[in-house]
Amino acid sequence: MTTFQWLVTVAAVCTLIAPEGRLYAQNEQKYKVFLDMSYSGNTWQAAAANGIKALAATPPYDKMIEFKTIISGTDVQRQISDIQSMIAAGAKAIILYPLSPTALNRVIHQACSKGIVVFTYDSTVTEPLAYNVSNITARYGANTAQWMVNKLGGKGEIIFNHGVAGTAVTKTYDEQAYAIFKKYPGIKIVGDFYGNWNDATSQEEVSKILAAHPNVDGIWTVDGTYGSLQAVVQNRPNRLVVIAGQSNNGYRLMMADPALQAKGLQGISSSAGPAVGGYAFKVMMEVLLSKKKLTNHNVEYPLPWVEAKDIKMCSGDRFEGGCNVFPEGKVPPLFLDTALDPKFLPELSLDAVQTGNPAAGAMVQPLPDPKYADNLPGINCQECKAPADALEPNLVSPIPVAK
């Protein structure tokens, strides 16, 4: 083909697709709301995004907003570019998982100055005009580390499973957990690795450390908990560990299994749950619709905290009557039970967080007043001070340090 023919072909293609392009032109009366996912392809992100999507399609919001999901990927510049596009497309509200607490500030500031409501979920930004909904301030690191120390009686060998190197979340939690473990001279960190919030990676790495240090007593994780525990079960099936971490359904089932408990398994299921996404969306919608006025730009989503004794099997598709785990086979072991939240997100069913479709007959329920979060400089605010006890646990009480 000649260049000319190519040009003609391309022009023809353009004219064919051009009329469709006006999809933003109609529905002027609806609010344009964007979800900007960064990562895609892991369980946590998928569940969070599905929760948001399901809520966006749940009455009455389905009629009120025009909702669109954008996947920006892991490159922060692409996220900046996409947010710029959203501003240009006339967004009224943007909910996003930010790739960096600071890199997006300028573009978010631009958006907010144009009156766009910007909410982040789980990860935070320091831009004061944006709202952060997260439990990064809920001292996961301090609480779980202290819980482990208490269970271990202040001594033992532990493996430290960091999250993703170079992220604010990992830095925050690591700092807290290290501070606690350091207080107890009997606690010895014999191996640490960056599991990248990935169960397969965590399982490999724990296997390797167990090979070098066969007497490990505990594993501290943020995510990749199920994989970490799998490694112990496979390599040392008769002596399990004290472990802190996520809320994967498989992990909760193992925690509650008396046979495993008899072999020494003690677990805590905490960590950030995907429901924070849906919660952030609901808060955002209430702010957008002027039903709520926030006095602080940092909102704390409560930290899940489930011990073995709290685990209760569900029979249906929802967490009803205080149940908080599904039977094996109903969901895959990596399913995050914290994708559901009967208190704040009663609209969501199991199917909703798995597929992003709204639950039949659900109506969006109003939220109670939010709990505002502590300041964490460089994480959710710029010129601010963290509370003096930011490294201390607030859910468990410390045992005395053995001399």
Binding site: G21, R106, V164, G166
Partner: protein
């Protein structure tokens, strides 16, 4: 990129096809999002392009010498966190940091070049090593995203000058102009010569090793500059530069018409290639492609862009066929 435009007719450079494709994509983008033609819209687009464009320009120098370089993301990570930690701490931080990041980039590049040219390591593997090591250095400097970039860098370099010229555009123009001059320098000529035929270059008296070494060094400097511009754009430092960025850098070079085999192509094509990849993101958004379709279209458009560039190869082949046959024997009466 022909060395001369006079004399015989040259095949159309593949960068011209890349530019044409860019034009088409930009036109469609405008069709859907007319506001993009505003100064602010174009400034945004250029700001989004510049980091990728500079990194791709640097990589082009290495690829022209028929080597590969994965270290770009490592160098960008290091220099980006340097900008975020140093630029506000020293007087005249913007300028001093600029010098610093260029030197750091140069240093890493020269290490790469030394490993490849003088120790004879395979470039792909050696630069993988330096990439990982650099990412480590970045993490040592800044444990998590943060730091602060001097306001001058952050505001002025992303703004416009003379009321109509985005600074990013100006820098890109300078880079292109610099390249056009560089191509006429001895080193520029040597880079093409070495990439085309290292043996012939050596027999011609060119220092093949030094040429490769310097190409890596200059590439490193470009990565350093890219890290600096990333700091300008984000106003912060981030020790993690995603691997997808690395792949985009390579894609920009390939789409710009520089084959990985070396000796052909040039920086201008790579800058356009970076532009294509950036406008692609905007275009997909504007057309209304969302969610996972973005990934699918990303993949398809990359392939289409390459096929488009292959057109130039096909056209020049056709032209070659009509030209005289190059190789042949001779007759020697004995």
């Amino acid at each position: 990129m022909s060395q001369s435009t006079r004399g015989q007719r040259r095949p159309i450079p593949s960068s011209a096809f890349a530019a044409l494709l860019y034009g088409i994509m930009f036109a469609i983008y405008l069709l859907y999002s007319p506001s993009a033609i505003s100064l602010a819209g174009i400034t945004d687009l250029l700001n989004n392009t510049i980091v990728l464009a500079i990194a791709a320009a640097g990589l082009t120098l290495v690829i022209l010498t028929a080597e590969l370089d994965l270290s770009s993301v490592g160098v960008i990570a290091v220099t980006n966190v340097i900008v975020a930690t140093v630029s506000t701490k020293v007087p005249g931080g913007a300028f001093i940091t600029l010098i610093l990041v260029c030197l750091i980039g140069l240093l890493v590049g020269l290490i790469n070049g030394w490993l490849v040219a003088f120790l004879g390591l395979q470039s792909l593997a050696a630069t993988l090593g330096t990439m990982i090591a650099c990412q480590g250095v970045a993490l040592l400097i800044l444990e998590a995203p943060g730091g602060e970039v001097a306001a001058f860098i952050m505001n002025r370099l992303t703004d416009t000058v003379f009321g109509f010229m985005p600074v990013a555009g100006l820098i890109l123009l300078l880079a292109v102009a610099g390249w056009l001059l560089f191509r006429r320098s001895r080193l520029g000529i040597a880079i093409y010569a070495v990439g085309t035929d290292a043996l012939a270059a050596r027999l011609s008296g060119l220092n093949v090793k030094a040429t490769k070494w310097l190409a890596f060094g200059l590439a490193g400097m470009a990565y350093g500059l890219a890290g600096y511009m990333l700091g300008a754009q984000t106003g912060t430092g981030d020790p993690r530069i995603s691997n997808s960025f690395l792949l985009y850098v390579f894609a920009a070079v390939a789409i710009g018409g520089t084959p990985l085999g070396g000796g052909r192509g040039g920086v201008i094509g790579s800058v356009v290639g970076a532009g294509i990849l950036t406008v692609m993101q905007k275009l997909l958004f504007a057309v209304g492609v969302a969610e996972f379709y973005t990934n699918i279209f990303n993949g398809v458009i990359m392939i289409v862009a390459i096929l488009f560039g292959n057109l130039s190869a096909i056209l020049s082949l056709r032209q070659k066929a009509t030209m005289s046959q190059h190789r042949g024997g001779q007759l020697v009466p004995n």
